[in-house]
């Protein structure tokens, strides 16, 4: 088998080191959940509700049970599990948290809700059996729109509550109304941040192996949060945390959708216990469109009180968040993150916020790349352009005029922005985008029959939610710390165990770079492992662009501990004081006598041999850190988009895109740029292509990748990315986070560009996704005589 050679560079911090992760993935030797086979393994399939809301009046399992190879056909009755899928979020203290049973109990509340689970010898038979089950339903009135769900006469999703309100998030600064009334202009803006299907290329999947004899449970699952899954399997499946091992093999993308625990994880464990064999379930793509969380789905209204120069004096924000039928792990916190980011990068001192969260007969919404922050950024950046438009100002000037300039800065919603330099990023983006000469390009395009426009988006986001006291205070019952272990082996090689749980982010490479620099050992001497609760210290996982800022800092601290232990051993061996030693290039040496010293790798050997250690010092060279940062981090930047619109068809084409991001210090620029590319493209996809659509009766109208429009390389532009560097003061590496910047920034840049392109027709607003028919209709409605050409 051919293999690749790692680049033999020093592999330290700041280099674009090629990824360690790639070697197996490019030869087909990745190990994803569906690749796993256990002895005697059986396969699961589900009969799911075809209705958005219905009463189950009968289940006939006989045809399924009669099929050869069917081991079990399970309904809620057979399971007898009292618990439900957990929600770790209660942002108001009185957030309604209806139980989400593992299999439907009498009522189905969204299309795709699982009703019956089948276990059979292979996936073909399991599917046949699931389809052979006859379930009688009595359809009930459904509601799929968050705003309609809050109307007085709406059908109730959960009969135990008097209405469909989940909770209301409110925040208002003192004297808001007076401040609002004092400004000379009021600018209003409304947006719908549409519902999105995450579409990790690997769907979800599990293999559960409950060994009855010992009570040990091993669950292989495609997740971003293995330790959460373990904790909740212990609770829901009523066993001991120490009996449960969760393993994440290679994970084919998550984008927030796998920052969750799902019914099928608990069900596979329960079924494995019942049938006495390992059980595999792999989600079909079309199943996934119903069964895995959706993102966004927030209706927004803004009112800004502004000065004539565009300075925003007060901002009123009202929104309705569609939570779906049940709460998943963090559902109510997603629009809470929107609340935190309502003022964005601007010094808006007076603010009034109200977000109502609604239950509907739809798949639950939860974190999707950006998670609440894209909603805030999109609405605000559209508003800023509308302010510029109404007041006849340059959109770049309005942004610059409102930017926060002094850091740390406490915002009107109470966050303390760590560091920033928003103007520099804006200037750099405008320069790269040739903003000054845009009108020439607009005119040239017009000569070709195209409308060309340019749009800006300046953003700040929040990453690394911590410290844990704060996450608790905002109603998230999961903490915000992260763990690391650095283990030096007898010959000085290093194993890093990280509590985060990557799925494409390149932790093995970046973490090795940190160790290479901070411990002075060769890059290739470091291995990074993760995602197995049997040997990893408890970790919170990979989400919210937190890994480098929190887990990276945890790693840094473990490295320092190991280094300090080496120092003690070196001092003992060299018969000097630790204060006489200095550190350089992976080696402790006596100050002024560099030849008298010892390498950290040699000191690891000494620690293992343990024959000559300082009195009281334990053998071994290993350290574990649980790091709880003092604050969030706040990456920022400005993106500039240019589009061209064909007025005959309404097609919006991105023809230029510049991203200037500031994520603090960078460990691996290549990986950072890859995150920007992916995030920006995912957001352009939301702006132009993707929307999850329900019919009024609760049927999903985008059930496959034919209807749901994930674009390919043929549909998308090249982008240019650059960075400014403003280190974060809240962690020792000065890093901030980059995973979500692109999805947060790009949508409004694209929409602002399209609105700018069509502004000559009097168009002031376009809803996402800007699919051709919508744009054509906007053009037609704006200019009924000019649409044809």
């Amino acid at each position: 088998m051919a293999t690749i050679e790692h680049r033999p560079a020093s592999g330290g911090i700041g280099e674009s080191v090629l990824r360690k992760e790639d070697a197996k993935l490019i030869v087909g030797q990745g190990r994803f959940v569906d690749d796993l086979v256990l002895p005697g393994m059986l396969h699961a399939a589900f009969a799911r509700s075809p209705f958005g809301h219905a009463r189950i009046t009968g289940v006939d399992r006989s045809a399924a049970l009669a099929l050869p190879g069917v081991a079990a056909v399970l309904t809620a009755d057979e399971l007898g599990i009292a618990g439900g899928v957990p929600c770790a979020s209660n942002p108001t203290g009185d957030t309604r948290q209806p139980r989400q049973p593992l299999l439907a109990e009498g009522i189905v509340r969204y299309c795709g809700e699982p009703v019956v689970m089948v276990i059979a010898t292979n996936r073909y038979t399991a599917r046949d059996a699931a389809d052979a089950i006859v379930i009688d339903y009595e359809p009930l009135p459904a509601v799929v729109d968050g705003r309609k769900a809050l109307a007085p006469d709406a059908p109730l999703v959960h009969g135990q509550y008097p209405d469909n309100l989940c909770c209301t998030l409110r925040h208002e600064t003192d004297g808001f109304e007076e401040a609002f009334a004092a400004a000379p202009h009021v600018v209003r803006s409304a947006n719908f941040n549409q519902r999105i299907t995450p579409v990790s290329m690997e769907t979800r999947g599990v293999v559960a192996d409950w060994v009855r004899a010992s009570g040990e449970v091993t669950l292989y699952t495609s997740t971003q949060v293995p330790h959460f899954v373990r904790t909740f399997v212990a609770v829901i499946n009523e066993t001991s945390e120490s009996k449960v091992r969760v393993v994440t093999p290679d994970v084919g993308g998550g984008f927030g959708a796998k920052l969750n625990t799902y019914r099928e994880e608990y069900l596979a464990c329960a079924a494995s216990k019942i049938v006495g064999a390992p059980v595999k379930w792999i989600e079909d793509r079309s199943e996934s469109h119903n069964a895995t969380i959706h993102g966004r789905d927030q209706h927004q209204q803004y009112e800004a009180a502004v000065e004539a120069d565009g300075k925003i004096r007060a901002l009123r924000f009202r929104a309705v968040q569609n939570n779906g039928a049940y709460l998943q792990l963090l559902t109510p916190s997603i629009s809470h993150l929107t609340v935190f980011m309502v003022p964005g990068p601007y010094a808006i001192e007076n603010i009034s916020i109200e977000v109502r969260q609604a239950f509907t007969n739809t798949t639950p919404t939860d974190a999707y790349r950006g998670a609440g922050r894209p909603e805030a950024t999109h609405g605000l950046e559209r508003l800023v352009d509308e302010i510029a438009d109404e007041l006849g100002l340059d959109p770049a000037d309005v942004r610059r005029r409102n930017f926060i300039e002094e850091f740390p800065y406490t915002t009107s919603v109470g966050l303390s922005y760590d560091s920033g330099d928003y103007g520099t990023a804006l200037d750099r983006a405008l320069e790269l985008a040739c903003y000054d000469t845009f009108e020439e390009r607009r005119a040239e395009a017009r000569g070709r029959g195209r409308y060309r426009g340019i749009g800006l988006s300046s953003y700040v986001e929040v990453c690394g939610l911590a410290p844990s006291a704060v996450t608790k205070a905002i109603g998230i019952s999961a903490p915000g710390w992260e763990s690391s272990t650095v283990r030096m082996h007898p010959f000085g090689k290093v194993t890093v165990i990280t509590g985060s749980s990557p799925h494409g982010q390149g932790h093995a490479t970046s973490w090795s770079q940190i160790v290479a620099t901070e411990l002075g050992v060769p890059f290739d001497d470091v291995e990074v492992i993760h995602g197995d609760t049997a040997f990893a210290p408890y970790g919170l996982g990979t989400y919210g662009s937190r890994s480098l800022a929190v887990a990276g800092a945890a790693l840094y601290r473990s490295v320092q501990k190991v280094k300090e232990k080496g120092r003690a051993i070196a001092a003992h061996e060299l018969e000097c004081s630790v204060d006489d030693l200095e550190w350089a290039d992976g080696r402790w040496s006596v100050k002024g006598s560099p030849e008298r010293g010892a390498t950290i790798q040699g000191l690891a050997t000494s620690a293992w041999v343990a024959a000559n250690l300082p009195p009281g010092l334990e053998p071994g060279m290993e350290a574990t850190t649980f790091h709880d940062p003092p604050n969030f981090t706040f990456p920022f930047g400005t993106h500039v988009c240019e589009v061209e619109i064909d007025p005959e068809t309404g097609r919006v084409e991105v023809v230029g895109y510049v991203a200037v991001d500031d994520c603090g210090n960078v460990i691996n620029p290549m990986i950072v740029e890859g995150q920007v590319h992916g995030g920006v493209i995912q957001s352009i996809a939301q702006a132009i292509f993707e929307e999850t659509v329900y019919a009024e009766d609760g049927q999903l109208r985008t059930p496959t990748l034919v209807e749901y429009q994930v674009p390919s390389a043929a549909d998308l532009p090249r982008i240019t990315s650059d960075r400014t560097v403003t280190p974060s003061p809240v962690n020792p590496l000065g890093t901030k986070g980059i995973g979500e910047a692109g999805t947060i920034a790009a949508c409004p840049a694209v929409v602002n560009a399209a609105v700018d392109a069509l502004s000559v027709l009097g168009i002031r607003h376009l809803e996402m996704p800007m699919q051709p028919h919508r744009v054509w209709e906007a053009i037609r409605n704006a200019n009924p005589t000019g649409a044809a050409r």
Binding site: M1, I4, I681
Partner: protein, 157 residues
């Protein structure tokens, strides 16, 4: 209700007994243990399951195993030769053209077919040629660049 088929996969001949409805991708993954080929959708939309059938890129999840009877298949496991990695594999690594790696086998197989005998392929042609392969991580830019690099490399080899 089983059919006997003989298929050559990565140069090795295999005799299999399969249900006629069995998808080729399941025969490759489950019967032959070649799990490098992935399933990403059920509507021929994503290309994750792309393999070569007698040299042509095809979707192994949109084909029955029995339809491959008597044919020769190359999967991602067979892309490298004794002489080393295929240039497109090297280019994907060097250009950071993969993140989670799940779409990668299909991208590699689609890309390898695209550049075969076409070393001067343009960026626009590469983008068009990858219209059937979805990636959710990379934004495609580095994938497109890697395919272009591999195409030029193929010409030099």
């Amino acid at each position: 209700m089983r059919s006997s088929i003989r298929i050559t996969v990565n140069g090795v001949e295999h005799d299999l007994e399969v249900e006629p409805r069995r998808l080729l991708v399941h025969a490759l993954r489950e019967d032959l243990g070649l799990t490098g080929t992935h399933v990403g959708c059920d509507t021929s939309s994503c290309g994750a399951c792309t393999v070569h059938l007698d040299g042509d890129a095809v979707l192994s999840c949109t084909m029955l195993a029995v339809q491959a009877n008597g044919r020769s298949i190359t999967t991602v496991e067979g892309l490298a030769t004794a002489g080393g990695l295929h240039p497109i594999q090297t280019a994907f690594h060097e250009r950071h053209a993969l993140q989670c790696g799940f779409c990668t086998p299909g991208m590699l197989m689609a890309g390898a077919a695209l550049i075969e005998g076409n070393p001067e392929i343009t960026e626009a042609e590469v983008r068009q040629g990858l219209e059937g392969n979805l990636c959710r991580c990379t934004g495609y830019q580095n994938i497109v660049d890697a395919v272009l690099v591999a195409a030029r490399e193929t010409a030099r080899a």
